[in-house]
């Protein structure tokens, strides 16, 4: 058996049972990456600070992750390792501190393999907005892996690493998970510390795991959740052992299917695949009911106001004064600011900064930002109301399967790809994307389950059940 094909849980068990050496795992992963990444281009930077030959598995004996490899999206700060956000602005930026999730992974004995490619500053749905290079979907050479955590999803899908961390502001974990045929979980806002996650939209951003199965997601959730004194928005509460919810049991689980979501025009194959999964859930004893939920299009509109507003402020700090790119030759302050930002940011980032600046401007604030916040409250209340009666809400993750590289040139069409994922961030609730089939082109289709605040265990249980019921034969994508 090829070690790189094993899940995190399998590897963990094998190490615990002394059936494999840690070095062999890393060798296999490294070998696979060396052969695969030149095609996929999932990594922006590899972690050069560790040497496989010097790895001693005894050092990890008492840890949870046993020295196993994890890839991290390049917008999560790691001390002494470049954190570029796939932007020219931060191409050479080396942070002097670790994000809280990085500290947690290190404490748990995880080894970080490298930083994965993304849409610049997490703005995008295809990883084409990376300032360096686009990442390729392992399931189709001319297909995008989704985004913005496209590198994290592709690396996992291609067997370069068993698990990775991404970040999700409007679907950036779930959408690439769906496109790449892997599992991706966006936790409740406040479940995972954002300290060290380079902010895109602070009130929406959340770090979460991607993996090839639900079991590994549960394992990673055990590592990364929890209170952090460095993040005031991180909630102080106890979390269960998520692996205890890996039960194939959806009996009496109440799942709502929102009419408004299925009224949207979207790909027929995706629809059939999702509805097929719904039937399977029903057969397994889940109670499926049609429900009414605020139209996702309102969430999408509110999202592109709130997210861009926060981004315009969060990205203002890249001015060339302290770190990152500084335009050369500017002979006054204003020029230094403007030229640095002109040269450092890509088109999509600039577009969103301008949008955000506009909606916060005096005279427009009430019509845009304030109204969007009101819509946000309505959407949140709507979800809360539904979750008093239902355990979960089900929808497709994305309207289509992975599109072609270069296919979506109109930004509005690109934004519409987030329609099913965005409401979750607006409401701050958790959601998971699990593979539920393939289209005729052989591209994976993802199904999204949404849960009430801090009910990740229900998502894990239902997603695990679905995985078992469908028993999809997810072969490794043929890489040529």
């Amino acid at each position: 058996m090829k070690l790189y094909k094993c899940s995190l849980t399998e590897l963990k068990n094998m190490i615990e049972e002394k059936r494999v050496k840690l070095q062999d795992i890393h060798e296999s992963i490294s070998y696979r990456t060396a052969h695969t990444d030149p095609i996929i281009k999932a990594y922006v930077n590899k972690n050069e600070t560790y040497n496989i030959d010097e790895l001693d598995q005894n050092n990890y004996k008492d840890t949870y992750l046993k020295g196993l490899p994890i890839a991290i999206k390049d917008n999560i700060s790691i001390e002494e390792i470049k954190t570029t956000c796939s932007s020219k602005m931060l191409e050479e930026y080396v942070p002097p501190y670790n994000a809280t999730v990085v500290e947690k992974i290190k404490e748990a004995g995880g080894i970080i393999t490298g930083k994965t490619n993304m849409d610049e500053y997490a703005m995008g749905s295809s990883t084409e907005n990376s300032a360096f290079f686009p990442t390729v979907n392992p399931w189709g050479k001319n297909r995008v892996p989704g985004g913005s955590s496209g590198g994290s999803a592709a690396a996992v899908a291609a067997g370069m690493v068993p698990v990775s961390l991404g970040s999700d502001t409007g679907g950036s974990i779930r959408q690439p998970a769906s496109f790449c045929g892997v599992v991706g979980l966006k936790p409740t806002y406040g479940a995972v510390s954002r300290y060290g996650l380079v902010a895109f939209a602070s009130s929406l951003d959340q770090i979460g795991p991607l993996a090839r199965n639900v079991e590994d997601i549960a394992l990673m959730m055990n590592v990364i959740t929890g209170r952090d004194e460095k993040d005031s928005t991180c909630v102080n509460r106890d979390y269960p052992d998520f692996t205890e919810y890996l039960k194939n049991d959806v009996k009496d689980m109440k799942i709502g299917i929102p009419d408004q979501y299925f009224d949207i025009e979207f790909d027929q194959e995706v629809r059939e695949s999702v509805l097929n999964a719904v039937e399977k859930f029903k057969k397994a004893g889940a109670k499926i009911e049609r429900v009414s939920l605020t139209g996702a299009e309102y969430a999408l509109a509110a999202y592109y106001i709130i997210a861009t507003a926060e981004a315009s402020s969060n990205l203002a700090r890249y001015d060339g004064v302290r770190y990152g790119l500084r335009a050369e030759g500017a002979d006054n302050l204003k020029k230094m600011f403007t030229e640095t930002r002109q040269q450092g940011f890509g088109e999509e980032v600039k577009r969103r900064i301008m949008l955000g600046t506009y909606v916060l401007s005096s005279g427009y604030y009430d019509d845009f930002y304030l109204k969007a916040q009101k819509v946000r409250t309505l959407i949140k209340n709507d979800f809360d109301q539904l979750f008093t009666d239902y355990d979960l809400i089900l929808s497709p993750t994305t309207p289509t399967t992975a599109f072609k590289i270069g296919e979506k040139r109109d930004p509005l069409k690109m934004y519409a790809a987030d329609i099913f994922t965005v409401p979750v961030n607006i409401a701050g609730i958790p959601a998971i994307s699990v593979p539920c089939g393939f289209d005729q082109k052989g591209l994976p289709i993802g199904l999204q389950l949404m849960g009430a605040h801090f009910k990740e265990e229900k998502l894990i249980q239902a997603a695990f059940s679905l995985e078992k019921i469908l028993d999809l034969d997810i072969k490794y994508p043929a890489l040529k």
Partner: protein, 480 residues
């Protein structure tokens, strides 16, 4: 000043709160450290960092609000004020916009025209920015350097109502604020070190008019005197313009100390649009009844109340009460002394005389001296018991001031005990009589004052230790 126009002044005071650590990180707030040594990823605004509110800064703001008769908001929040400047690492300042922590307060100030009530619109909490440093002068320097030590030091912004009518009232308002903040021990109000800064808004209108005139904002005044001077200058300038039917332009003017005049800095059009919006990285600030009560209990007696009580309770002259209550430490020294030595006027004389003389000579802070009320009281009792003379007491006091030693011990160590031994003094008196036959003759001829000379001679012989009353009496008896 003629009576045609009424002057309307409002003041905005920024004062650094004297917390040990910064408002959103644990860096030291110490003034005068090496540039950029009191910094960390958070106050430098490095990508991914998050603010965590310092509770002490909130406490300080609440107590300030209570002392200035404000309502304390049970619910307030933080907002981002967005603008680009190299001393602002995040390119936004975390401040409070529409929901300040304290509002609707007032103070009463006294000028020659009587007592005047000045409303306080609001007091809010925010972070300070860094400081630009130029080699030589701004014009000649080849570049700018930035020191971020001050970045993130907590500031209270105190905004007055436009209730101030004269530059004198403005000065008295500032004096009142400064004294109060010092009493509360929340700020050292040192304008030179920049821990207190003040901007002013000033406009003129015809007496009886309800509508305000066009206001001008004044900046860059570095002392209370400069503020008073700038306001007086601006009052005159605006009056002249109005009298000549010229329009006042809404603008920001800067005070040029050397030229003693205000100079236009920027017009209304160039004003920033700060694009305020709620800070998503912090949760709203909720002050419950208990928190407020706890702080209320710590509220010290304020200067005006203390002054009145000192006059009523200790029968102090108004002048003494003014001087003694000018600082809380001075007032505390007075009261602790008076609690053990009943003659308040004597205590006040010593504090206003010897104590303040030494303070001024040594340029030390009152709290740094070694003298206590107990020591002073003990020394005063020793004078009353004829153990030392008032003159010797000055030597003892000085020693106490520097060493904090017990006066009894000082007297013993230095052999300063008063000579009250009848025999010892008599032989000295006789010696002086023998040595000064001509003086004796003068006295016998009615020049009574010459006795003083003889007493002086004895004091000289004994290095001031002879009991002067006894010596005086002896001379008078012997030269009859």
């Amino acid at each position: 000043m003629d009576n045609k126009y009424e002057t309307i002044i409002g003041l905005e005071v920024h004062t650094q709160l004297d917390t040990k650590s910064k408002i959103f990180c644990s860096c030291s707030t110490e003034f005068g450290s090496e540039p950029n040594t009191n910094t960390c990823p958070v106050c430098l605004g490095l990508p991914g960092t998050l603010p965590v509110l310092n509770k002490k800064a909130v406490d300080y703001l609440i107590i300030t609000g209570l002392a200035l008769n404000c309502e304390i908001a049970f619910y307030s929040k933080f907002d981002r004020k967005n603008y680009f400047y190299p001393d602002l690492p995040k390119a936004y300042q975390i401040s409070q916009f529409d929901l300040p922590l304290a509002k609707n307060g007032y103070i009463r100030v006294e000028t020659e025209e009587g007592i005047h009530r000045i409303g306080i619109t609001r007091i809010h909490l925010e972070e300070d920015a860094g400081k630009l440093i130029h080699e030589g002068s701004i014009d000649q320097s080849s570049g700018s350097l930035v020191d971020y030590n001050r970045t993130g030091v907590p500031l209270a912004e105190i905004v007055s109502e436009p209730d101030i009518r004269t530059p004198e009232q403005a000065r008295e308002y500032l004096n009142y604020l400064k004294k109060t903040l010092e009493y509360l021990k929340v700020s050292d109000c040192n304008m030179e070190e920049g821990s207190l800064r003040c901007d002013a808004n000033i406009s003129l209108r015809l007496h009886g008019n309800k509508k305000f005139g066009t206001k001008v904002e004044l900046k860059n005044m570095n002392s209370f005197k400069a503020i008073e001077k700038a306001l007086a200058y601006e009052q005159k300038r605006q009056r002249k313009m109005l009298e000549n039917d010229k329009k006042i332009v809404q603008e920001t003017r800067t005070w040029d100390e050397n030229k003693s005049k205000t100079i236009s800095m920027r017009g209304k059009e160039e004003a920033n649009d700060y694009r305020y919006f709620p800070e998503p990285d912090l949760v709203p600030l909720e002050i419950d009844e208990k928190w407020k009560k706890d702080i209320e209990e710590r509220l010290p007696e304020l200067p005006a109340v203390k002054r009145k009580r000192f006059i009523d309770e200790y029968n102090l002259p108004e002048y003494d009460a003014d001087v003694i209550t000018d600082s809380r430490d001075l007032a505390d020294l007075f009261e602790s002394s008076v609690s053990e030595y009943k003659d308040a006027k004597v205590v006040s004389n010593w504090i206003m005389g010897e104590f303040l003389r030494l303070i001024n000579e040594e340029k030390t802070a009152i709290e740094d001296t070694k003298i206590t009320g107990q020591l002073l009281a003990k020394m005063l009792k020793m004078i009353d018991q004829d153990i030392i003379s008032s003159k010797i007491a000055k030597t003892v006091f000085e020693e106490m001031f520097y060493t904090g030693k017990d006066p009894e011990e000082i007297v013993k160590e230095k052999g300063l005990k008063q000579i009250s031994d009848q025999g010892e003094l008599e032989s000295l008196v006789e010696k002086i009589i023998d040595e000064n036959p001509s003086v004796i003759d003068d006295i016998k001829n009615g020049k009574d004052k010459a006795v003083g000379y003889l007493v002086g001679q004895v004091m000289k012989e004994t290095k001031g230790k002879a009991n002067p009353q006894m010596v005086n009496k002896m001379f008078k008896e012997k030269i009859k």
